[in-house]
């Protein structure tokens, strides 16, 4: 297994399956004092309450102490300290660094300037590998398998990093993809080329209703304002798809709806009580997967 978790592409199929199997042990036994006496740094150079709480809880459930910051106001970084200096300083105090940073490639760079394992908790629009691993864990949990699953990805497929990473990670498992997106937010050509080279089938549509009944996983995403440079473009697309309970008649029995959360208006609240809604359980799974990531990178599993 690589020293750090920076990009899902660094992890082989075996590495991924190992993380998922340890996550299952964590879910079965939610408090394990594996990391008693260890210190985990959670450095959030850009705020993200959900991801930070999930990592901090994961570390604490393993018995570790947590230090860090949740945004950079009133820190030495706001006074102009370089990323390298912050990482070098913190690495003297802790055993592993979890970091989120607005610059793409920041986590990779951090992993090169210190000897500790680094977990990338999001580097701008680039990677968010713990999200990808929890998505895989959830697909495995709901379908009983990762192989030969049909995934319908919906929403912003152009800028959405979670769908890009999930697509790359799923390529190990012989999937079929459906891409549901408005014309301006379609899956970029480089990812379609990636699939073609591997002989992985996909279809594209701009209609949400078209493929609801022929997928195992409906992966909904939010159109993220911060990825648009033009606010007018964002206004045009933010409400492009809205999934409602009435649209779910005739879907596969095993079909589950996932969403990286937070949702804005993509999934109506009346969907929450259907047997297909799984996004809250998916968020919970994030904690077990992050427990697994931290334990595995520190060599405890």
């Amino acid at each position: 297994m690589p020293k750090s978790l920076i990009s899902i592409n660094d992890f082989s199929k075996e590495d991924i399956l190992h993380i998922l199997s340890v996550a299952r042990e964590m879910e079965a036994n939610k408090t394990q004092r594996l990391l008693e006496g260890k210190v985990v740094a959670c450095l959030f150079f850009e705020p993200s309450t959900r991801t930070r709480l999930s990592f901090e809880t994961a570390a604490k459930r393993l018995g570790a102490k947590v230090i860090g910051f949740s945004d950079v106001t009133n820190t030495s970084i706001s006074k102009g300290e370089t990323l390298k200096d912050t990482i070098k300083m913190v690495s003297n105090y802790v055993d592993i660094i979890v970091m989120r940073h607005p610059l793409e490639g920041a986590a990779r760079y951090a992993s090169e300037v210190c000897d500790l394992p680094v977990v990338n908790a999001g580097d701008g629009a680039n990677q968010h590998p713990s999200q990808t691993l929890l998505d895989l864990y959830t697909i495995l949990q709901t379908q009983g398998r990762l192989d030969k699953v049909t995934i319908n990805m919906v929403g912003d497929l152009k800028y959405g990093r979670t769908v890009h990473s999930l697509l790359q990670a799923m390529s190990h498992f012989d999937p079929t993809f459906i891409f549901t997106a408005p014309d301006a937010l379609r899956m970029p050509a480089e990812y379609k080329t990636f699939l073609q080279k591997r002989g992985i089938p996909y279809t594209e549509t701009d209609s949400l209703s078209e493929h609801l009944c022929d997928c195992d996983i409906l992966y909904m995403t939010r159109v993220q304002q911060e990825r648009f440079s033009d606010p007018m473009e964002y206004e045009r697309f933010k409400d492009v798809y809205r999934l409602e309970k009435s649209m779910l008649t005739g879907v596969r029995e095993n079909m589950k709806i996932l969403h990286p959360l937070p949702r804005v208006g993509e999934i109506a609240e009346d969907v929450d009580n259907t047997p297909y809604a799984y996004y809250f359980k998916q968020a919970e799974n994030g904690m077990y997967v992050r427990m697994s990531i931290i334990a595995c990178l520190l060599g405890y599993k």
Partner: protein, 154 residues
């Protein structure tokens, strides 16, 4: 007619380097990469010359200058098919093909403005990806592809 004579027709140099078989459209990129507009040596540039293998090619002759391999590998980013002739006393004493490096460190600029290399003091690092006759650069940090080579300004 021998190749030597063809070259002499453009303009012979006594000692120096001749870069040949540059695709005509990339000639000025190579001029930029080697920063030849700030070069005080005599430089002869030929563009849109006929070439049996390439259609139209470009050629650059730089008198009294011999490049390091690292400098030459930069040319590969714009013109991987170019050849380098080392001239001593009007004779080609060695001829080499430019090797496209698998990795390019500290030479090219990442086209992604949000890349850590454009915002912190981090040397750029790319792996080269050949697509047809184009060379693309895959950033080691932000994982984005830079389509057009832009030299890093030091």
């Amino acid at each position: 007619m021998s190749e030597r004579n063809t070259q002499l027709k453009v303009s012979a140099i006594k000692d120096g380097t001749v870069l040949d078989h540059i695709p005509a459209g990339r000639l000025f990129q190579v001029v930029d990469i080697l920063d030849l507009s700030h070069c005080s040596n005599p430089v002869t540039i030929g563009v849109n010359l006929e070439s049996k293998s390439q259609g139209r090619k470009g050629i650059i002759k730089i008198a009294d200058r011999f490049f390091e391999d690292e400098e030459l590998s930069r040319i590969a980013l714009a013109a991987p098919e170019a050849t380098v002739n080392i001239i001593k006393d009007y004779q080609v004493v060695s001829k080499k093909k430019i090797e496209l490096p698998a990795e390019v460190v500290g030479i090219a600029k990442c086209s992604n403005p949000m890349c850590v290399t454009n915002n912190q003091d981090v040397p750029t690092r790319f792996t080269t990806v050949v697509e047809g006759e184009k060379v693309k650069l895959l950033c080691h940090y932000c994982e984005k592809t830079t389509e057009e080579f832009v030299p890093l300004r030091h």
